[in-house]
């Protein structure tokens, strides 16, 4: 088929009005609703600095660790000393405080450029577990703190942290008569949030490029659905699919060069396609009279998981792109399994599943098809894995309001993330943010 004929390509470099001060009602507030029964006690000592810093790094690090549900920070008021070097650290004293680990640190330099150094000690063994140093502009000191927290998390727990990450989400305010949709991006702790798009029409399905610099999303501006790709830092965007009918469910390939998407035919039937972003070539992936939508790439980029109701009810299927073969069904437990998101290691799918009359988040083991439910709401949807694969972020309903929630894949930790006004939905957890 002549793909370019099917997809008129529109290139816009629209400078979206970036609201300098986003309204405070849209700020995310994170609250742990369940933590591990014995969180690891850790003391994050205030960092020494030559000339003061605009950000209290130790406070950001400690809040990150506490928000993971796996650590309990020692309150500053109980710290007898604030050492900033290994030489000044009296481990016997910290042992008396019943803390297992101590983090000390220093910030060198002054605005606009700093260098952050930290060291981690095991109080029980007396061992220095390692040091971490990073340079950061004054505007990126919070990121440096999140990266330091990631280092500490990995040193102690053996798995990478997911603090130096961002969350994209849609905030919906107002009722049917005058509703507004706003797409935001915030740091994983809810801070530094910025408006990506503000619209009187629905915004759906934000998803990150694998390098974390761009978002693809669906916007109904002009009362027609279209898929846009927008660079987060500059707000420049391109309309990359605006065919008649549905343009939905965008998903970047792992190499970032292609976008899987759901398009409808003139008769309204929805199938999967893959768009090559450089050439604009469009390839059809499925051709079935049922609904095929919500594609998600396997980590190797060779296959897509997707939702299809070809068996009568929505279930998750996998199709291998290079081969001419029928999709293989991968979910079998329950009458409703949809919207798959694959874990970073490719072994599990997070899905929306129907259990006891409630829509919940399920984890499906790809190899065996075995599934378990990790959320307990009635209207949970939109799962998104943290880049470390430890936690799933999803949308839920609580007291009539749309909130976000997280559940750790091991079931030990959960949190609730809310906004002051309206509903928050369609969360997308970014890849790890790298320093620049």
């Amino acid at each position: 088929m002549n793909a370019s004929r099917y997809l008129p390509r529109f290139f816009f470099a629209l400078a979206i009005l970036l609201l300098a001060a986003a309204p405070a009602q849209a700020q995310l507030t994170v609250q742990i609703t369940r933590g591990v029964t014995s969180p690891i006690p850790i003391a994050v000592v205030p960092f020494a600095s030559d000339a003061g810093t605009p950000v209290d790094l130790a406070q950001v690090i400690e809040a990150d660790l506490a928000r993971s549900g796996r650590f309990a920070g020692l309150p500053r008021a109980q710290m007898l000393q604030h050492p900033s070097t290994g030489a000044a650290l009296d481990l016997a004293q910290w042992r008396l405080m019943k803390t297992d680990f101590v983090v000390i640190g220093r910030v060198h330099g002054a605005a606009p450029g700093y260098r952050v150094e930290c060291e981690l000690f095991n109080v029980v063994t007396g061992q220095r577990l390692g040091g971490f140093a990073i340079s950061a502009a004054d505007t990126r000191l919070r990121l440096a703190a999140h990266q330091t927290a990631d280092f500490i998390y990995q040193k102690i727990l053996g798995v990478p942290g997911a603090f130096a990450t961002r969350i994209a989400y849609v905030n919906v305010r107002g009722t049917a008569a005058a509703r507004r949709w706003r797409l935001y991006v915030a740091d994983s702790d809810g801070e530094n949030y910025t408006t990506i798009l503000d619209s009187p029409e629905p915004i759906m399905s934000p998803t990150w490029s694998p390098d974390g610099t761009k978002l693809a999303y669906v916007s109904f501006e002009g009362k027609l659905s279209a898929i846009y790709v927008q660079t987060v830092a500059t707000s420049n965007r391109e309309r990359i699919s605006a065919r008649a009918g549905i343009n939905g469910a965008p998903a970047f390939s792992p190499d970032g060069k292609r976008l899987a998407l759901a398009l409808s035919q003139p008769d309204g039937n929805v199938d999967l396609f893959v768009l090559d972003l450089a050439s604009g070539n469009l390839s059809r992936i499925t051709d079935d009279p049922s609904i095929d939508t919500e594609p998600c790439w396997s980590p190797d980029g060779r296959s897509l998981y997707f939702t299809s109701d070809r068996s009568g009810k929505p279930q998750v299927y996998r199709i291998t792109l290079a081969r001419e073969e029928r999709p293989v069904r991968v979910t079998f437990e329950g009458s409703y399994n949809a919207r798959p998101r694959v874990s970073p290691d490719g072994t599990q799918l997070a899905v929306v599943t129907l259990e006891d009359g409630g829509y919940r988040i399920g984890l499906v083991e790809v190899a065996t098809g075995r599934s378990r439910v990790i959320s307990s709401g009635r209207l949970d949807e939109g799962p998104s894995f943290a880049p470390n694969g430890q936690t799933v972020l999803y949308a839920a309903r609580e007291g009539g309001h749309g909130v976000l929630a997280t559940a750790s894949v091991d079931g030990s930790v959960s949190s609730r993330i809310s906004v002051a006004e309206g509903d928050v939905r369609e969360p997308a957890w970014s890849p790890r943010v790298e320093s620049q």
Binding site: A262, G268, A338, Y359
Partner: protein, 181 residues
């Protein structure tokens, strides 16, 4: 399965609407069909006239005047279904005839779902509903160029609640006149 039922319902509907004396198809009088043909999820939606004020039912399913029918502009659906209930036959006939009589009139058929389940699947389901209404109007003589569809999925509920009463109002296609009316 839904598709086959939907097509069956449409065929039945078209036969009903055409009221062609030569056809042998067994059809029930519209006045007796308060319930849809099959509810795929086993849930029974409340009567369609339990709406939140807009698009209020006229004088029951026996309404015959073409102009009377066009004032009802919302078609409601059962859970996970895009099948048009027989009670909307007269309404859709009236809309279809109005469109057939004036080619300058255009409508946008806005498909919607309730909030349950995943968002993009619901967009596809809403589109199916809009397409079902489109086919029904086309059978009455409306031209394809007069009928645009869009699906908002679960994004635009009219009822804010989170129970079956609200969901029944949100599973709908709104027939929005864009001109000539």
């Amino acid at each position: 399965m839904n598709r086959i039922l939907g097509i069956t319902a449409l065929v039945t509907l078209s036969v009903l609407l055409a009221a062609c004396p030569g056809k042998k198809a067994q059809v029930k009088p519209p006045a007796t069909t308060g319930e849809s043909v099959a509810s795929s999820a086993g849930t029974t939606a409340p009567a369609a006239d339990a709406t939140g004020g807009q698009g209020k039912e006229l004088g029951g399913s026996g309404a015959t005047g073409a102009d009377a029918g066009v004032t009802k502009s919302t078609i409601y659906f059962d859970f996970d279904s895009s099948e048009i209930r027989a009670e909307y036959a007269a309404t859709l006939a009236a809309h279809g005839k109005k469109l057939a009589s004036d080619r300058t009139i255009k409508v946008r058929l806005e498909g919607n779902t309730d909030e349950r389940g995943s968002a993009e699947y619901n967009v596809a389901l809403g589109e199916r509903r809009a397409q079902a209404v489109k086919r029904a109007l086309a059978l009455q003589g409306a031209a394809p160029g007069q009928l645009a569809t869009v699906s908002y999925g679960e994004e635009r509920p009219t009822a804010e609640g989170h129970d079956e009463a609200a969901w029944a109002q949100n599973r709908r296609v709104e027939i929005v006149y864009l001109g000539g009316r």
